[in-house]
Assembly symmetry: C2
Homo-oligomer: 251 residues x 2
């Protein structure tokens, strides 16, 4: 059912190649913010940390760069993709446009298998949602959440579009996971998912896309509050640092 590979989110690193295993581990570290946005990635450090040679490491970094999680500067090196207000707003805007389009096609084309896959994906997510208050299985929830959104649009018969939506979902998730780290249980999300599913199953395209849009926008609004705070803090720090340098130079 799923055209969009979810392999890189699975917790086991038994990928066929070393490169894919390293890519998965790096991806997780970046998604969780363990590797901070904008951080420089020195090849030698990574090499010794993951105990691999340069070849698979470069391969892994290349792959992450194509998902927009890493920036590459020729001859200069790699760094974790920085975060910014503009970037998150663009990601959100594109998610709404592209996922809506995909959902519309999916509703038009979805068959019985799609319907049951959707019900199943929601069920799994719903169960994890209730367990989410006791912290532990956050990764499982992230995975189920991604899978639910992916299943929604999986009948669209547009593999490229699905890929784009998956990439945008990941980019968006990084912001959410970094900024909403200490997140409290939010029953509203679960209900939103259910209503989107219901509208999709009822083949009510208008309603489904509208609900999806609201769902994405509401999450984005929560993230944006904290992101704005963080950006302001950082620019304040920067100014303070510049002030100190100015004084030092002056004397």
């Amino acid at each position: 059912m799923s055209d969009l590979s979810l392999d890189h989110l699975k917790p086991d690193f038994t990928g066929a190649t070393l490169a894919s295993s390293i890519a998965a581990r790096l991806r997780m570290a970046i998604m969780e913010g363990e590797l901070a946005p904008g951080a420089k990635l020195r090849l030698e450090d990574l090499r010794s940390q993951y105990q691999v040679s340069l070849s698979p490491l470069r391969e892994a970094l290349s792959r992450l760069s194509m998902d927009g999680l890493i920036e590459v500067a020729e001859q200069k090196g790699y760094r974790v993709a920085p975060v910014s207000l503009e970037n998150y707003e663009e990601i959100t805007c594109l998610r709404i446009e592209l996922e809506s389009m995909a959902l519309e096609k999916s509703i038009a084309n979805g068959d019985d298998a799609w319907e049951s896959a959707l019900v199943g994906a929601f069920h799994r997510l719903h169960k994890l949602e209730r367990q989410r208050t006791d912290g532990a299985p956050i990764d499982a929830w992230e995975l189920a959440h991604r899978e639910f959104h992916n299943t929604l649009i999986s009948a669209s018969r547009m593999p490229l579009l699905l890929k784009m939506c998956g990439t945008l979902h990941d980019l968006s998730d990084r912001y959410r996971r970094i900024l909403l780290r200490t997140r409290s249980f939010d029953g509203g999300v679960d209900e939103e998912h259910r209503r989107i599913m219901d509208a999709a199953l009822a083949r009510n395209t208008e309603k489904a896309t509208e609900l999806l849009k609201q769902h994405v926008e509401r999450t984005a609004a929560n993230v944006l509050v904290l992101l704005r705070q963080r950006v302001e803090e950082e620019s304040a720090e920067k100014k303070a640092a510049q002030g100190r340098v100015g004084k030092a130079v002056r004397r």
Copy 2:
């Protein structure tokens, strides 16, 4: 003005790294159909052909895979992305949606610099258009054409969207260049470009996006005629081959 790098389309291969140089050369070979869709890419062959080691070669292939020009199968190898009716239809559909969105934003945000860049890009394209009957500078036209479409949407302030549009443009171009290889002069295209530019400069969003849509669809229709032929021929050949095998087995 241009957020979207066009470096990889320039004819000089003086890229900073070997990997990017190889990537550019491979890209050109694929875009021109010199490396046929679906063709297997053996590392050893490429290595000896381009006189490089495996490291930069893999790096180059990774980069092309992220543009969808190459497919990677772990432990199995690389192949040139195959072509299909469905794939081309999806590319066209996405181009229309995404370029329209980008054009809309670009018209909303475009300043004086954007306007003059657009006029300049059209001028360069227009001059090459008239020379195009005498075959030679086809690459120059392709580059100017890409640059015109890119400039149209360059004021959208959405770098990710620009990147997606550029990628889709390349994918679309491969089909056009492979199938419309012996293309005769088409004055209509030039006129279409001019009308799109005029509508954009007049800030007529509705008209500009509609004209852009028609422009993309008209080109796509031309390609699709030949693509359908080709697909039919291939399936016929396949049947014939199967027939032969069947006979051989039978006797």
